[in-house]
C-alpha cells in the first residue's frame, strides 16, 4: 500500500537485485572484482567465504553504504547512482542487520523501532507503535519495549535490530554476519527469527558462517574469495559436491569440527 510504484516496477520474473560486472577498490586494493549476481523476488541467498573476501563489502554496496566504482547495481528496478533520491528510495526498501547490532543507545527499544517509520514513512506515531509491537511479538521480546538497548543481552539486541528493519516493511533484507558478535547460547534465538522470515518469503541475502542455517533456508549459496564470486550452487550441491578447490578448502576448514 505504501509503495505501489515499486510494486508496479518489479514485475515477477525480473530480479529484485541485480549486480552487473561490479568493481570496487579501496585505494589501490581491488576488493570486488567483476561481481555479477541476480537475486529474484523471495529468493534466499547465503554468502560465505574467508574473511577479507569482500562478502560484506558486496552486500554493503547494495544499499550504498559502500560505493562501487564500476558496473551497475539495480535494486527493485532502480539503479544505484550518486543520486541521493535514488539512494534514499532504495534504502527504504532494503533493510540491513549488522554484526554489531547498531541500535540507537539513546532511544528505547520502541523508539528505535518507530523512528524510521515516523520520519521516513510519515506514519502517525500511534500507528507506528502498534506496528512496532507486532514486530516485537514476532521476535519474541514485546516485554522489552520500554528498555534501552544497553539493558538487553546481545541476542535480544540483535532481534530488536531485525525488528527495527522489518518496521520499514522492506522488500529485501541484508544480513551482515548477524550472529558473529553473539555468545554461542544466543545464536539460535537470532537464527530462529531469520528462519521464520525466510519461510514468510522475504528476499534475503545473508553473509554468515552458520552452515546449518544455510542448509535450512538457502535457495543458493555463493562462495567468495579474494574479491570474486568463485562458486554459485544450490546448498545440496555446494556442500556435497563443491566444484572449486578453494571452496573445498574453505568447507574443510569450517566444517572440520
Amino acid at each position: 500500500m505504501t509503495s505501489t510504484a515499486t510494486a508496479d516496477r518489479a514485475e515477477t520474473g525480473k530480479p529484485m537485485i541485480e549486480l552487473r560486472a561490479v568493481h570496487k577498490w579501496y585505494g589501490e586494493f581491488h576488493v570486488l572484482k567483476d561481481i555479477s549476481l541476480q537475486v529474484g523476488r523471495g529468493e534466499r541467498v547465503v554468502v560465505c567465504g574467508p574473511s577479507g573476501s569482500g562478502k560484506s563489502t558486496m552486500i554493503r554496496c547494495i544499499n550504498r553504504l559502500e560505493e562501487h566504482q564500476k558496473g551497475q547495481i539495480i535494486v527493485d528496478g532502480i539503479e544505484l547512482t550518486s543520486d541521493v533520491k535514488n539512494i534514499e528510495a532504495i534504502r527504504r526498501e532494503v533493510g540491513m542487520v549488522f554484526q554489531q547490532f547498531n541500535l540507537f543507545p539513546h532511544l528505547t527499544v520502541l523508539e528505535n523501532l518507530t523512528l524510521a517509520p515516523i520520519w521516513v514513512r510519515k506514519m502517525p506515531k500511534k500507528e507506528a507503535e502498534e506496528a512496532a509491537m507486532v514486530y516485537l511479538e514476532r521476535v519474541k521480546i514485546p516485554e522489552q519495549a520500554g528498555k534501552y538497548p544497553g539493558q538487553l543481552s546481545g541476542g535480544q539486541q540483535q532481534r530488536v535490530a531485525i525488528a527495527r528493519s522489518l518496521c520499514m516493511k522492506p522488500q529485501i533484507m541484508l544480513f551482515d554476519e548477524p550472529t558473529s558478535a553473539l555468545d554461542p547460547e544466543m545464536i539460535k534465538e537470532v537464527l530462529d527469527v531469520m528462519v521464520g522470515l525466510a519461510q514468510d518469503g522475504m528476499t534475503m541475502i545473508c553473509v554468515t558462517h552458520e552452515m546449518g542455517f544455510a542448509r535450512t533456508v538457502a535457495d543458493s549459496m555463493i562462495f567468495m574469495d579474494r574479491g570474486e564470486i568463485v562458486e554459485v550452487a544450490t546448498p545440496q550441491e555446494f556442500f556435497a559436491n563443491p566444484k572449486s578447490e578453494r571452496t573445498k578448502l574453505f568447507l574443510s576448514q569450517i566444517l572440520a569440527h
Partner: protein
Amino acid sequence: MSEMAEPGLVQPTEKPPAATLGAIGWLRANLFNSVPNTLLTLVALYLIVVLVPPFLRWALVDSDWTAASGKECRTAAGACWAFIGEWYRFILFGRFPYAEQWRPLLVIVVFLAMFLASCDRRLWGRSLIVIWLGGGALALTLMFGGVFGMPYVETALWNGLPLTLILAVFGMLFAFPLAILLALGRRSHMPAVHSLSVAYIELIRGVPLITILFMASVMLPLFLPSGTTIDKLLRAQIAIILFGAAYLAEIIRGGLQAIPKGQYEAADSLGLSYARKMRLVILPQALTTVIPPLVNTFIGTFKDTSLVIIIGLFDLLGTANSSLTDANWRGFYWEAYLFVGLIYWCFCFFMSKYSQYLERDLNKARRR
C-alpha cells in the same frame, strides 16, 4: 571457652576494631592514611587557622553595616557592608533610569525562570526553543521599552547584571546552532564547506576575544558607509556569538567523532536523510557525551562577557568599578569585588552542578 564453636551454635558477631569505625576511623582513612597525606592535612589545617578567623573577623565581627557615609565607614576595622547597601542598586542596574529599574529586575527574573525551565527535561525540544526565544524577546522588550507605556531606554544605559545576562544568554543561544553547523561543516566531505568551516574556526580561535571586541567596536565602523551606525551593544553581542561559536564547534566536533561509524550506517540503512540522521540519531548522542566541556565553555563565556568593559559597556563588573570612583565612597574594593564575585559564582556554580546532575541522569538510563 572452647577454641571451636559448638556445633549447631552460631558464633556471636564481633564488632570491627574501634580504630576503623566512626569519626576516628574516617580521619585515619581519609586524612592521615600516609605520610604525604598527613603532611598535607597539617599544612591545610595551619592555613585554615591562619586565614579563616581573620577573614571572619573582617567580614563579620568588625564590619560596619549601617554607616551613613564612606568617611564614617572607614573608621571601622572590618568590612564596610554599608557600601554595598548604598550602592547595590547601582552595581546591579547601573545608569538605567532609577524609576524604571523594576524593568531590568524583571529581566533578571525572566532569565532565572528560563534557566529553571531549561532544567526540566520534559520541556526539552520545541517547547524549550519557544521558551528561550519568547523569554529573550520579553527581556529585550522590557529593556528597550517604548511600548505599553514604558519609556524608551537606549542600550548605553543597559548596565550591570542584566547586561551580563543578555550578553551571555544571547551569546550562547545564537552561538550554539552556529557551532553545530560549523562542526558538521568541518566534518563535511564537500571541500568548500569543509575549508570554510576550518578557516573560520582556526581564524577565530587564534585571536583573543579582546581583539575581536576591539575590532567590532573600533574597526568595523571604519568599513561601514558613513552615516550607518550599528549599536555598540549589538556589535559586542555579535563578537561574543562569533567567538563562542568557534569554541563550541570544536567541542561538538569532538562529540561527533566519538560516535561509532555503525550509528551513521544504521541511520543510513533505514533511509533517514542527512538532516534527520544528524538531528535524531547523531547529535543527541554527540551532545550528551560533550556536556562537561560544553558547560565549561558556557561558564567561560559567562565570565568573558566582563571583557566588554574595554569597549565602554558597563556590565556587572563595570558598574562595580564605577561605583568605586564615587568621591564619597572611594576605595571599598574588597567589598565591591566580593559582592560581584559572589553573583558570578552563584550562576557558574548553578551551571556546574546542573551539568553534573544531567550527565549522571542521562547516563543512568542509556548505559548499563
